[in-house]
């Protein structure tokens, strides 16, 4: 019987609430010492994986989150039998237990910020050329012109990067003090200035949300996205 895995929880007792997972199968808890691996039987009837399946996976995790500490699995982990799951997780029990302790009572939140990368760069460029113009005449040597242009680009890119760092730090400052941990992805794309994940204790989540309200009204031309609470996808740290 093939088993589909959703996550690991900090409980080894059976789950009373009738939660349905993939293919409408009831989820159950596989006990291991003082933890549990949440699974459902997978008949493999569906040949086509649709986004709906991923939503079900997520839905199960969010229901579990209300009662337990959950270490979410990536979508699509299957095992041939229960023994296989147990032997694998047993081998990493200490790691798993450590994660459960660390993530207890906390949830993940996401903050994304979009800025106008092009506009900012143009501004820096025009300021740069205003400053630097007439410092040197145009060289007649192609190598010299080549390197001069490279250097200009280098200086502009550097300033652009520094500006990004400053803006990211300002945004982060709104949320930092409410987070136990954070992971920040900077400038993953030209306009996505910030893609940040924050691990926030239950008691501080209200303040965290309020901080977002304050950020939204800041007098800058940025776009903001708030999401959460999520299972701690970005904060599980387990090598299996």
């Amino acid at each position: 019987m093939i088993i589909y895995i959703y996550g690991i929880i900090d409980s080894n007792t059976s789950i009373d609430e009738p939660i349905r997972g993939l293919e409408g199968e009831r989820i159950y808890n596989i006990s291991l010492l003082d933890i549990g691996i949440v699974a459902s039987n997978f008949k493999g009837i569906t040949k086509d994986i649709t986004k709906a399946h991923v939503l079900v996976h997520e839905d199960v995790l969010e229901k579990l989150m209300k009662k337990f500490t959950v270490l979410p699995f990536r979508f699509r982990t299957l095992f041939n039998k229960e023994e296989d799951v147990l032997s694998l997780i047993r081998g990493s029990y200490i790691d798993v237990r450590g994660n459960l302790n660390r993530l207890h009572n906390k949830a993940e939140f996401g903050i994304k910020v979009i800025w106008s990368g092009d506009k900012i760069k143009e501004q820096i460029e025009s300021d740069f050329f205003k400053r630097e113009c007439n410092m040197h005449g145009e060289s007649d040597l192609p190598e010299k012109r080549f390197i001069e242009r490279k250097f200009e680009k280098y200086k502009i890119d550097k300033e652009y990067g520094e500006k990004a760092e400053i803006c990211i730090a300002i945004v982060d400052n709104f949320f930092n003090r409410f987070a136990a941990e954070k992971k920040i992805e900077k400038l993953k794309s030209k306009d996505l200035l910030l893609n940040a994940f924050y691990l926030v204790e239950n008691g501080k989540q209200g303040d965290f949300k309020k901080a977002f309200e304050h950020l939204k009204i800041a007098p800058v031309d940025f776009k903001y996205l708030f999401s959460g609470p999520w299972p701690p996808y970005n904060f599980v740290n387990i090598k299996i």
């Binding site: 649709t50 986004k51 979508f75 299957l78 296989d84 694998l88 970005n234």
Partner: protein, 79 residues
């Protein structure tokens, strides 16, 4: 050669409500498909990505059936 399974999208129309659902979907997919605990190895039947070569590090898939998912976000068509 492992089978490829494509992810299909349900029919959608593009009202404001759908756009909200769409950002929710994108956020969920981003997490559930890419993050969380990842296990690979002999005991796992992993519905994994297309066989990737990361400079010599090969993602091993072993199982009765290896399936692959290819995430396809729906093509935008205006109503």
């Amino acid at each position: 050669m492992p089978k490829k399974i494509r992810m299909f999208d349900e029919k959608t129309d593009y009202s404001d409500i759908q756009r909200e659902k769409r950002i929710t979907l994108v956020e969920i997919l981003d997490r559930a498909l890419n993050k969380g605990i990842v296990i690979s190895g002999d005991l796992v039947i992993s519905v994994a990505d297309i066989d990737l070569i990361y400079l010599g590090v090969k993602v091993l898939l072993s199982s009765v059936e290896t399936m692959e998912t290819m995430r396809e976000l729906p093509a935008e068509t205006l109503p």
